[in-house]
Amino acid sequence: MSALLRRAWARGAVVSSAILQVIALAVAGTDGAFCLAGYDAPPIGIAHVGATRIPGMGLDPLGAVVAFALALIGIPIAIYTPAYLAGRHGGLSGPVQQALLPLLLGTILAVVTAQNALVLLVGWELMTAFATFLVLADGHQDEVRRAAILYVVMSHVGTLLGMVAVLIIASGSPVLSFDSLDFESLRILGRDMGAGTRAAVLVLALVGFGTKAGIVPLHVWLPEAHPAAPSHISALLSGVIVKCGIYVVARVALDLARPVPFWFGIVLLGVGLSSALLGVLYALMEHDLKRLLAFHTVENVGIIFMGIGLGVALSQTRGLESVASLALAAGLFHIINHAVFKALLFLCAGSVHATIHDRNLEEMGGLLRKMPWTGTCFLVGALAISGMPPLNGFASEWSLLQALIASAQSSEGWIRRLAPLLVAGLALTGALAAACFVKAFGIPFLGLPRSEHARHAREVSLGPRAAQALLALACFVLGVLSPLALMLCARGGEPLGILPYLTFDSPFIISGSKIATTSPFVLAAAVTAISLAVAIATRGSRARARVAEPWVCGLERVQPRMQYTASAFTKAIRLVFRNLFRPSREVEPAEGTPPYYVRRWRTQGMILPVFERYLYDPLVSAVRRIAALMDGWASPSTEVGLFLTLVAFCVALWWAL
């Protein structure tokens, strides 16, 4: 009886917490939307207690973009979570997780509404802490713990660097107080920095906070932490927490340290392009579904940085202000878009994992027929992330592409020369992403099941289905209304000094004097109309269609083993980029002589994780060596190390104040 009661109580707590979350996030989202639309914030909202603004906090258009993204995905996640928590075993209990989640959401909101560096940094640290707990929520296997530690360590090292950047700006002030760390004061200080100091601030901010954003080569924690976390946490991690990294980079480097020199725009473009390309390339080689999605986060962060970087680089070119605004808007819009479709994909991946308990694509197959809702929603997400019209990914990618093409008209030689390469790079990224998602959808969801688990897959319950459907719908709506969304996002440039010169005559058509014209709405309408017409015209033949075994050259029947595997699907691409991947294969070949007949032959292909091998491994061993030197007075255990960083952080803060 008591057990039953306890379970009912737990369930009730989880559900009511979810409802509260939905309400709170709805408020935050409305707030963000209002802010972007240029209206005053409504009387109750974030960064307010009642009608009073909390000191050191406040929403501006840049933060509003992330807040809006958080609301968009937080609500479906809240709907998704209860059923997910009910269905799993072990790990943190449901109520505890459900209690941690609002805390995490709160700290995220604190980060994006902070108007004071101290608030920002405290919020940031708390966000990291809560996120770590939630990453650990689902298990205590070594790999999960390792992932969490990697996340914490990298996050903290990054934070330290970022903090130094903030402190450099603040160091111009005669006194350090809470008020002197207000953004307003920092902006004034920032304006007077010397070129060298500014450069140091920009680079430190990018490296420090960019770690959280997962820019290459600081991305290595992402593919470890995402698969380890429960899927809705992965969704939040990729959807918003990573974006907070971008947000803080933009805030510190582009806002507080203004005016931003031109070269930093180019740096951002370079970082963006390399993250985009490397992210998608590693994603292609992945056959762990969640790791694959995590690598795509790296890619999309890259795209976002490209947009922001182009905005920065063009903002100083006369005559191209509207293009700069478009580029920035595209980048910020992509923050929202990526949040939406990545959350969608992670939730769907979670649903798949919940039913077949596997993340390996090679063990899946035929899931669309077993899980039509989840499969279809995943397809929408896959189409969106691949930039397929008329979904939201298309709108932001297309806008960025147009901005890049238009920037070839810049009088600035660098940008003009780089623009076509960037166009090609972005196109390559898009094409690779499409190839990757053809794989990520096609291999697990189509064809025949490749394992017993996959054969017995079942559709998830109503809650998760609704959450997924909501996000899929959001992909569509954001795509169709992208001109409107772009105009709103352009306002996010205001705090960065990239003024929103973007106006479209219609909320459905993107056009301008320097860019081409497109209309996801018209495309959607036309493609849908023709599809419907054709579908209706040919419905008779489909209704009469005969179901038959696939053609296997006259053999009895097709076997699952005859389907392409995930790794085989991208083999050709792997070979082209072999210098990057360094693919190798372990073969246990034929036994015995002569070699003409074989008895047993086992093979396993792999790629070399270049960054881990050549960047981090030496680093780690160097640290180990230093730690060994210090063996006499400090324990080298990771936990203590963690503790020490926290202490160092607190000391630094205290000293700063």
């Binding site: 050259c553 009895e556 083993r561 005859m562 790794s567 083999k571 032959w601 093979t603 396993q604």
Partner: protein
């Protein structure tokens, strides 16, 4: 000292009793010794010896000496497999197992050859075709590609099972038998009115090759010889068959790499050569031409003159058409270093015909074991050393040239006389092995007669039987999209293998 194998010559009938009957070890040693001295196994087959026993006959061919050797041994349920030491016999041993239920002990890869019903009444049929246990390369990323028996092109049925990773082929297993019509079984007890038709349809594109081998066999058993004019016409027909098929193959190779000019010209020229055969006998494949005792159709002077003219024109055109292949870099890029078979593999497994000559092995029965017209008029052996698709294409092109010269020479100097002679009775209790160089390679017919001179066993070894393994090996580590090209470069017979 064990009894030596019986030395004999091509198409020479000898009493079965003269063939030494060896013990297990002796049989094995004799074959291994001979192979180490340069011989290869042309045929190895079983023949029921009564009392539940099976007598294995082995035909060893020594290309350098031009001699054949026969040996045999009696087995009951099993015998020591030779396949590990002499890989060339692995298919023969599997065949023996399938036909007679006698197990080659220690065979590394004992699978059905053609899924045929056993020749012994009590034997159980092998497993169902197409659902066999195919070799699997393990590893989660490996997948299979199954092709056949119904292929995309207009070709014979066979099943190919690739173990792949994307474009890469780890392993190819070839499973044949779809064409099995039971010809060898039906040939026993002959010759009768259907025999020559069985022979002519063993492999439809090698009608002349098999028919010549068969007729030489019968003539040897009868102790007679066909007239000289018939030999010349047989030679012409044999080389026309080679011309037509080689030309067709070159065109097909061009077609497989999507190179249209040569593909279309060769497609047409192949027809021209076939039509020249039809001009001689009315059938494009030479059906009804070669008959025991000679040939059924004469080539009159007028016909010969016309043929010479047609040949000259076709030869000029084929030179132009094939020349394009070697001069087009995009074609050569596809041909070179594709589907390579090393000379060592070739020698170990005993490939024959174009496949062997393209590995640099100068093996050609027209030169090594000449019969008929080839005793008097020699055709040079064409080889190339690279063992790849290019080599097999290039050797074909060279042979087209030399065959054209041979035909032209024969047409200009046809011996006078009749074309058909009546054959005397066949000798009883004889064995005869005949090797003829068909266009694919060595066609081997072995006939054993009973006490009335009828066939108690008629064994046919199509050149394809030796070479199929070569195709499987050529594909290892290749790209799967090159398979059609490799396959065409070997162009092996399915029905010749499946009989």
């Amino acid at each position: 000292m064990s009894p030596a194998p019986l030395e004999t010559r091509n198409a020479q009938a000898v009493p079965i009793a003269d063939v030494p009957d060896l013990g297990d070890e002796e049989f094995r040693d004799a074959i291994l010794t001979a192979v180490s001295l340069g011989s290869r196994v042309s045929a190895l087959f079983g023949h029921p010896a009564g009392e539940g026993k099976l007598r294995l006959f082995c035909v060893l061919a020594n290309d350098e000496l031009g001699s054949l050797a026969l040996l045999s041994r009696q087995v009951e349920r099993r015998f020591m497999s030779l396949a590990n030491d002499c890989p060339g016999v692995h298919l023969f041993e599997r065949e023996i197992f399938e036909q007679w239920g006698v197990e080659p002990h220690g065979h590394p890869w004992l699978k059905p050859v053609r899924f045929q019903p056993p020749l012994v009444a009590a034997g159980a049929r092998a497993s169902q075709i197409g659902v066999a246990n195919f070799f699997r390369v393990e590893g989660e990323e490996v997948h299979e590609v199954a092709v056949g028996p119904v292929h995309a092109g207009v070709i014979e049925p066979g099943h190919f099972r690739f173990q792949c990773h994307g474009e890469d082929v780890f392993h190819l297993e070839i499973s044949l038998g779809y064409q099995h019509r039971g010809v060898e079984r039906a040939l026993a007890g002959g010759p009768d009115k259907r025999t020559i038709h069985y022979i002519e349809t063993l492999a439809g594109d090698t009608t002349i090759g098999h028919a010549v081998a068969h007729c030489e066999t019968l003539e040897a058993l009868a102790g007679a010889e066909a007239p000289a004019r018939a030999h010349a016409i047989r030679g012409i027909a044999l080389e026309l068959e080679r011309l037509a098929n080689h030309t067709g193959d070159l065109g097909a190779l061009a077609n497989d790499v999507g190179y249209l000019p040569t593909a279309s010209y060769c497609g047409r020229l192949r027809g021209d050569f076939l039509n020249m055969t039809a001009a001689i006998c009315g059938s494009r494949f030479g059906r009804g031409l070669v008959r025991p005792g000679g040939v059924a159709f004469d080539v009159e002077p007028a016909r010969s003159a016309e043929l010479q003219g047609r040949l000259a024109r076709a030869m000029r055109d084929i030179r132009g058409a094939t020349g394009l292949l070697w001069e087009t870099p995009s074609v050569m890029a596809r041909f070179e270093e594709t589907g390579t078979v090393t000379r060592e593999t070739c020698e170990k497994l005993g490939f024959v015909g174009v496949a062997a000559r393209a590995c640099g092995v100068g093996r050609d029965a027209r030169q090594d074991f000449p019969l008929g017209m080839f005793r008097f008029s020699q055709v040079p052996v064409m080889t190339w050393h690279t063992g790849d698709v290019f080599a097999r294409a290039f050797v074909r092109a060279l042979e087209v040239e030399s065959s054209g010269k041979f035909i032209d020479g024969q047409l200009k100097a046809l011996p006078a006389g009749p074309v058909l002679a009546a054959l005397p009775e066949r000798a009883p209790d004889r064995i005869v092995a005949t090797l003829v160089e068909g266009w694919r390679g060595e066609v081997c017919h072995v006939a054993l007669t009973d006490e009335r001179g009828r066939f108690s066993r008629y064994k046919v070894v199509d050149p394809s039987f030796h070479n199929w393994t070569g195709l499987a090996l050529a594909l290892r580590g290749q790209q799967i999209s090159d398979f059609p090209l490799c396959n065409k470069s070997f162009n092996l017979s399915y029905c010749g293998h499946d009989l």
